[in-house]
Assembly symmetry: C2
Homo-oligomer: 210 residues x 2
C-alpha cells in the first residue's frame, strides 16, 4: 500500500454549509460516539438517542449534521475507511522498497485495528445496514493496493499477476490475522515473530527478492 | 485442508430423543429455511414465523426441534461450518500432494460459497447474534488446516512457520477472494486463470517446490 489517500473533505451541515471549527469538533464527537454505539449495540439496537447521550449533545444538534441513523452510519463507514487507508498508506510510504512498504503497511493496519476494534463490527453490520457501504469499503482499500502493486510489478519488484486478485488476497490475510491476534487475543497485538513469518510468507508469495 | 471432518451428529428433538427419518427431514427443511431467512432479513428481522412459513410447517413443529430463534441460529452456523469444512476436506483429499490439496481445498470452498452465498451473511451477523459461534466457526476451520499444514511441514513439503498463522492467512485469502469474485461478480465463480494465479501465489508463499 502506498497510494495517496485523498484529504478528508470539509465537514458540512445537512444544508451543505461548511462548519465552524466548533461545529466540526461536535460532529467529530458524534462520529466517535456512533463508532462506540454501533459496535456495542449493533445496527438495529443503535439509536440516535444513544449516540447523542454518549456524545453529550442534544438530539437537535445531531440533526444539524445528519438526517438519520442511516446517514451517520454511512459517514462512519466512510470515515473509518479513509482513516484505515491512511494508516496503511502512511506505513507503506515509510518503506524504501516493496518488501518494507508491505510490512509497514500491514503494521499500520494492525495498529489501526488495535486502536479501533470497532472497525470489524461496524463493517460486518454494514452487510445488512448498508451493503453498498460494505462493498465500497473493500473496493477503496483494493484500489490503493492495486495501484501500488501495478507500480511494483512494472518495476519487476513483484511477480506479475492480476493486481486486484493479489490485493484481495493480501487484504484477506490482514483481516483474518488481525481478527485472530488483535481482536481475540488478550495481547491485542500480532506478536513480532508472527509478523516476521507473515511477511516472509507474503514476500515469497509476491516473488520479492530479498 | 485434508483433516477428516467429524460425521454429522444424529439430529435430535428438544427433549434429546433421536428423530425418525421423517422428523430429520423436517428439521433439515427448517434449517434450510432458516439459512434463507437469516440471509435475507438479518438476525433482528428474522423470526420463527418467517422460518416456519418458508418451510411450510407449523410453529408447533418448530418447537419440537428448537427452543428459540437463537437455538436454530446457532445450529445453522454449526451446520454451515461442518458442511464448508467437509467441502474443503473432500477437495483436499483428492490432491496427491500439498500443492494439489491446497488447490482442490480452495475449489471446494469456492464451490460451497457459490452454492451457499448465505454463508457470509450468516457468519457476519453472528458477530452480534452469537459471538461465540462466529469465533467457533473460524477456529474449527483453522483446526483442520493446522493439522494438514503441520503434516506438510513435518514432511518438508512446506516451509516451516507457525501453522495457525498460515492457516488464518489462507482462510483470509479464501474469504475475500470468494467475496469479490463469487458474491459480487455476476459470474458467481472465481475465473480459472485467477485460481491458477492465486495458487501460484500461495504455493510460492508456502515454499512448495513445483
Amino acid at each position: 500500500m502506498s497510494a495517496v489517500v485523498e484529504p478528508t473533505p470539509f465537514p458540512t451541515a445537512v444544508d451543505g454549509s461548511i462548519l465552524t471549527a466548533r461545529g466540526a469538533a461536535t460532529r467529530a464527537r458524534l462520529l466517535e460516539a456512533a463508532e462506540a454505539v454501533f459496535a456495542e449495540h449493533g445496527w438495529e439496537q443503535a439509536s440516535i438517542v444513544k449516540i447523542t447521550e454518549r456524545a453529550l449533545v442534544s438530539q437537535g444538534t445531531f440533526y444539524r449534521y445528519w438526517e438519520s441513523k442511516q446517514a451517520i452510519f454511512d459517514d462512519l463507514v466512510e470515515d473509518l475507511n479513509r482513516r484505515v487507508r491512511r494508516a496503511m498508506a502512511e506505513g507503506a510510504a515509510r518503506g524504501a522498497n516493496r518488501a518494507e512498504a508491505e510490512r509497514y503497511g500491514f503494521e499500520g493496519f494492525f495498529r489501526f485495528t488495535a486502536e479501533h476494534p470497532a472497525l470489524y463490527r461496524v463493517i460486518r453490520q454494514a452487510e445488512f445496514a448498508s451493503p453498498d457501504a460494505l462493498r465500497h469499503h473493500y473496493e477503496k482499500i483494493a484500489e490503493g493496493y492495486v495501484e501500488a502493486l501495478e507500480t511494483a510489478m512494472g518495476r519487476g519488484e513483484v511477480v506479475a499477476a492480476d493486481p486486484e486478485l493479489i490485493a484481495y488476497a493480501l487484504m484477506g490475510i490482514g483481516e483474518l490475522v488481525g481478527m485472530r491476534w488483535i481482536l481475540w487475543a488478550g495481547t491485542k497485538k500480532v506478536p513480532d515473530d508472527l509478523v516476521d513469518q507473515l511477511m516472509e510468507f507474503i514476500q515469497r508469495g509476491l516473488g520479492i527478492e530479498r
